[in-house]
Every structure is written in C-alpha cells, then in structure tokens.
C-alpha cells in the first residue's frame, strides 16, 4: 500500500529511533573479540574470565548504545532479552557436553562383545568384559516393576477420574502428587526395612522391582489421569445411554480411546525408573555373573554397573571405559523409549472434538 520509504519515515516519527536488527549480533561479536584481545593481552588463562569479560562488555555496550539511541526503557528491554538468551544457552551447554562426552568415550568399547558378555572373571583394571548380565537384570527388574505398577496406577487413575468424589479421592490425588517427590533412595530404604529386614527376604532383583514400582506408580497415575480427562464426555454418555454398564463403558470406550496416551505415560515412566540407581544399589546388591532369576540372589543392573565400574576403579582405565559405554547404552535406551513414547502420543492423540 505504501512505499517502503514512506513506512520508514512514518515509523520513525511514531516510534522514535530504533537500532537495526543486526545490532545485538554486532555487539556480541564485538565484545567477544575485545574480550579475547584483553584476555590475551593481560595474560588471563581462565576461559571463564574471558567469557565473563565478554558478557560484561556485551551488556554494558548494549545498554550504553541503546540508551543513547532508543531511550532507557528500550535499553533495559534489550538487556532483559540478552539475559534470557543467555539463560537458554546456559541450559544447552551442559546437555551438549554430557551427550558429547558420553558418545565420544562410550563408543570406544561399545560393541557386540560388550553387549553379549558378562563381567565374570574380569578384574576391574582389566579390559574386556561386558554388560550382558546387567542388561538382563535391568530388563527383568523394570519389567516386574511395570507389571506391578501399571495395573495399580491405571486403576487408581480410573478411580480418580470416573468414580472419585469426596474425601478419599482428594486424599489420593494429594498423596499421589506428594509421592512423585519421594526420593528414590527413600523408596529403597522402605523396601529394605520392610522386605529384607523385617520379612527376612534376601537381596534380589524382585526387591529392587518393588522399590521401582513404588517410584513408577504415581507417574503412571498422573499421566493416565490426564489422558482419561481428555476423553470427551459425549462418548461416555453415548455408551451409558445405550444401557452399557459403567465398567464396560470404561473398559470398552474410555480406555481404548485414551490407550495411546496411557502407553506414552507408561513408557515415560519406564524410561525414568530404568535409570534409577539408588534403590537398586540398596536392594539388588549387584554381581559380576549372569543371574537370570530375579527372585533369588543378587542380580546386576545397568545403572548400578555404571556406578560400580566408576567407584571400583581408582584412576583411569578399562573400568572407566566400561562405565562410559554402559552409560551410552543406558542413555540410548532411555532416549529411544522417550522418542517412541512421544511418537505414539502424537500418532494416537485423542481427538478432543474441538
């Protein structure tokens, strides 16, 4: 409608002077260069100092220039913007470093042999050995925990959404929320005091699964609850209006509609407990040998394996490599579970009708 020249003139009269779009980039680049120059010139060795000088220069430069050209309020706005960008970068740095370190150091020994052999007869300082026994243990423990936690969790969520009114439902909701915050080591101590010290059962994979199930239940309840709430009421009413009993309505209409979301929640919960170390450390005890029976005798577990390889090797060596490789396996497993879970969520998202 208007020519570019005209808009430009109008904007400048209405909004006052404004700095060009490339201004923040230019300031950042300039201050980084200046900081490197100062750092080299003054002989500062710490990269942290360089970074701090650059950040201070950038903030001060932005403020001074923006305050001159655009006014104080705009200058403050620019500072807030740059601080918020810094926050975001601060979060990305550790994640990138963590994934980079794990992949780089873990890939060294991670191969078919590593995945298919146990640590039987391998000393901590010796190269070789693998995580087969630990993988097996983790899969069994997590599988048992899932078998315990999912029915209880889903039924509780059904209770809260479909039946729950009144004081009991309120108490359950509140304590489920609080239960999500129980430290994993406390869940481990509880099973220790109850299962091992009072009932005199031995250390076993199953004891670990009990603790993992306690940690998993509230997560399953919360995610299932959210999903059941998304099921449109019209569906329930239609089914009830046809004379279908409530329990069959729930089983045949409500659950199938939300099954995708429930599966997602369960997989995210599985991903979370797979990495739990503390309860496994207290209850499963760990071993270097293959134990396929989770109900008797200590088992190994992947997170516990990482901890033991780290703790038992004072210094650099084969054990560190194994710890990193096991960590890479664990992260890959958890990330794949996460990705698949989110994929299911997107694919099977219930249509809310709006």
């Amino acid at each position: 409608m208007t020519t570019p020249a005209a808009t430009h003139r109008r904007r400048s009269t209405l909004r006052g002077a404004s700095l060009p779009k490339w201004f923040p980039l230019a300031v950042v680049a300039g201050s980084v260069l200046l900081a490197v120059a100062i750092g080299l010139g003054a002989g500062l060795r710490s990269k942290v100092q360089w970074g701090l000088i650059a950040a201070l220069l950038a903030v001060a430069g932005t403020y001074v220039v923006a305050a001159r050209v655009e006014g104080r309020r705009q200058a403050r706005d620019r500072i807030a913007t740059s601080l918020i960008w810094v926050c975001f970068l601060l979060a990305v740095v550790p994640l990138a470093s963590l994934i980079w370190a794990t992949v780089k150091r873990g890939a060294k020994v991670l191969d078919g042999y590593f995945l298919s052999h146990s640590m039987a007869g391998v000393a901590d300082t010796q190269p070789g050995g693998g995580i087969y026994h630990a993988l097996l243990g983790t899969l069994e423990q997590v599988g048992l925990a899932t078998l315990i936690a999912v029915p209880v969790g889903v039924l509780t969520a059904i209770y809260l959404v479909e039946y729950g009114r009144g004081r009991l439902a309120k108490a359950v909701t509140f304590f489920v929320d609080v239960m999500t915050g129980i430290p994993s080591i406390v869940a481990g101590l509880f099973v220790l005091s109850f299962w091992i010290l009072v009932l005199k059962m031995g250390y076993s994979g199953f004891a670990g699964s009990l603790a993992l199930a306690i940690l998993m239940m509230p997560v399953v309840v919360r995610s299932t609850e959210e999903m059941l709430k998304l099921v449109p009421n019209e569906l329930r009413e239609a089914s009830l209006a046809l004379g279908v009993p409530k329990w069959r309505t729930i089983l045949k209409v409500v659950l199938p509609t939300s099954i995708g979301g429930i599966a997602t929640g369960v997989m995210l919960a599985v991903a979370r407990i797979t990495g739990e170390t503390a309860p496994v450390l207290l209850l499963v005890w760990g071993t270097n040998f293959i134990n396929t029976n989770p109900f008797t005798d200590p088992q190994a577990s992947l997170p516990l394996y990482i901890y033991q390889q780290y703790a038992n090797s004072s210094g650099y060596g084969a054990a560190y490599d194994r710890a990193w490789a096991a960590a890479l396996t664990l992260i890959a497993f958890v990330m794949i579970l996460n990705l698949v879970a989110r994929g299911i969520a997107r694919w099977k998202a219930p249509k809310t009708g709006r």
């Binding site: 990269k47 942290v48 100092q49 403050r76 807030a80 913007t81 918020i84 960008w85 810094v86 926050c87 975001f88 601060l90 979060a91 994640l95 470093s97 963590l98 370190a101 029915p151 209880v152 039924l155 809260l160 479909e162 509140f174 304590f175 929320d177 239960m179 915050g181 129980i182 430290p183 994993s184 080591i185 406390v186 101590l189 509880f190 220790l192 005091s193 010290l197 009072v198 306690i214 509230p218 997560v219 329930r236 009830l240 004379g243 009993p245 409530k246 329990w247 069959r248 990495g275 739990e276 503390a278 207290l282 997170p303 901890y307 780290y310 960590a327 664990l330 992260i331 958890v334 996460n338």
Partner: protein, 335 residues
C-alpha cells in the same frame, strides 16, 4: 459421568417417579460387574495411601531401633560410627551438607529456569520453541547416574579454573576460599544439582506463564510497554506463586538426589567453612556410600537418616502441591 446406569423396567413413562429418586434407588442396586470394578479401582487408590503410610511406619520402626542405641546425640553428633561399641552417629553434618548444596542449586537453577521458561513462552521464535522444549525434556530424561559420571569425570576437572578465580577474588569472604584440593565439594554438587533440577522448574514455570491471560499482556502492550515491561508487570506477578511452587518441587528433587552426589562429592564427616573445599555429605549420599559395609544395625542407622530425609521432602513437596492446587488448572506432576 453423573449419568447413572439406570435401566427402568417401568412400562409406562407416566408412572415413573421424580428423576432424582430413581437415580438414587437404581444406583444402590448396581450390577456386580460395576461393584467389582469400583472395588478394584478404589482398592488401588487405597493401596497407594497404604504404601505411603507403610513407608512412614516401617522407616520410623527401624529408625527407632537404631536411635535407641545411639550413644551420641542423633541431631548434633559430628560422627557416623555405627560399627564401634558404643555406636555414635548424628545427622548434623548431613543436614548441613544437604541444605547447603540444595541452596546453591536453587540459587543457580531458579533464575536460569525462569529465564528459559520466559524464553520459551515470550522470546523464542515460535518454530523453535517446540524443539527447545523437547531438548529441556531430554535434560530431564538423562538418568542421574549418568549425570554423576559426567559430573565426576568432565565437570570436576573443568572447574579448577572457576575455583581458582573465585578464590582469587572472593577468597577473603571465607566461604569461597580454596585450598587447592580437587573440586569435589558442596559447590560442585550444587552446580550439578542445579543442572539436574533445571527441567522440572522450567516445565512448571512454563505452564504457569502460558496461563497468563492474553488480555493482561495486550493491555500492557497497548499502553506502550516494552516486552520486558510486559513481563515484569503482567507475567511475573501472575506467575509468582507458580514459580515458587516449581522451585519447591525442584528443591524436593535436589534434597533427595543420591547418585550424582555420591559420585561427585568426596565425603568427610565434618563441616567445612568454605564451600570450595572438598568434604561434607548429604543424607542420600551418605546412605549410598555407607550402605555396602553397614551391618544390620548400621543399616538401621542409615534408615533413621533416611526417615529425616523423607519427612523433609514430604513437607517441601506437600507445601509445593498446596500452592499449586490453589490454581487447579496446572500441575507439574508430568514435568
């Protein structure tokens, strides 16, 4: 959902009584299937409550066994000797370490997490905010033992520079002086914990900032406010209680974190004046590192310290939930 499963046998609609009456009457004669199903689902809910109660009861029972034989003062003794006779142990050092490392973690994580939440809701280009939120979720998915491994083998060696710098410029405070030991101190633990609790604080805060009424922001914009002024005047006041409870959820995580602390910290059983000198301990770390050589009595003593941790996290989480529940629309349990 309130539609009851009524099945009237009345042949003539005119003979049906008032609607409120039969609903009640029919509900009392529900089908057996319904009764079984309700029983099962209510039973699961009750089971969850029973587990919470059992945790408290069993921990308290075993803890009482241990504390009864403690020849030190459980609250003030600076020692953890459960294998000698008479045994002496106390939680003073652990309480100090837990509180200090959590405070450091909160001080570092809360501002950054709020910044990221604001970034996601108000600053990031719309196309970017989805993937970035996903990256934050990945940060939450990394198992704590991997954080521990990374912290001990990557973070610790890289902190020497920062420690030297802190000692140079702030060593005079005493709190930040450094004698040159490996940086496996409470400060490092706090930094690592901050990274670990970042996602939950970010996610809950983000949910809160999303709920800010659009009208508030647009009103501020219409008055000529800059983006920062919009945030300061309408977003932050609205989200304050949410951010507080998000921080408390993060605090609950930080208090109970075990493996990351156990791998990074080099524990001693005393209180160091400086945050930078290696030493100290936390409840969870002490349990994990002392457990393997503990006798049954030693395990009971560790359970006693676990009970204290349980009560503290219960209070923190409960308070956070109370604040959140005042606004029903969001809850951070899925974060």
């Amino acid at each position: 959902m309130d539609i009851s499963t009524q099945h009237t046998d009345a042949p003539d609609p005119l003979t049906r009584p008032a609607p409120a009456e039969p609903a009640r009457a029919v509900r009392s004669t529900t089908r057996p299937g319904d009764r079984v199903f309700l029983g099962l689902s209510r039973g699961s809910g009750i089971l969850l409550l029973a587990i919470m109660a059992a945790i408290a009861v069993f921990l308290a029972y075993r803890a009482a066994l241990a504390i009864g034989k403690d020849h030190g003062n459980f609250l003030t003794t600076f020692e953890w000797n459960t294998n000698i006779l008479p045994p002496q142990f106390g939680i003073a050092v652990l309480a100090f370490g837990t509180v200090v490392s959590s405070i450091v973690a909160m001080a570092l994580a809360v501002p950054v997490a709020v910044g990221i939440a604001l970034f996601l809701t108000h600053y990031a280009p719309r196309r970017l905010s989805g993937p970035i939120a996903y990256v934050i979720d990945l940060l939450a998915a990394v198992p704590s033992i991997v954080y521990g491994l990374w912290g001990a083998l990557v973070l610790v060696p890289n902190l020497n520079g920062l420690y030297g710098w802190l000692d140079d410029y702030f060593g005079w405070t005493g709190i930040l002086s450094w004698q040159g030991g490996a940086p496996r101190s409470l400060l490092t633990v706090g930094i690592l914990l901050a990274i670990m609790i970042l996602p939950i604080i970010t996610n809950v805060s983000r949910e809160v900032f999303r709920q800010v009424p659009r009208m508030h922001e647009e009103a501020a914009l219409a008055l000529g406010a800059t983006r920062w002024e919009v945030i300061r005047m309408s977003v932050l006041p609205f989200g304050r209680s949410g951010v507080i409870s998000a921080s408390m959820l993060g605090l609950g995580r930080a208090l109970g974190e075990t493996m990351a602390v156990a791998t990074v910290l080099s524990p001693t059983f005393d209180i160091k004046a400086s945050l930078l000198d290696p030493g100290g301990g936390t409840f969870a770390q002490n349990i994990a590192s002392k457990f393997n050589e503990a006798t049954e009595f030693g395990q009971d003593a560790l359970i006693a310290s676990g009970l204290v941790l349980f009560v503290i996290t219960l209070l923190v989480n409960g308070a956070a939930r109370m604040i959140i529940n005042r606004r029903k629309e969001y809850s951070g349990a899925n974060a």
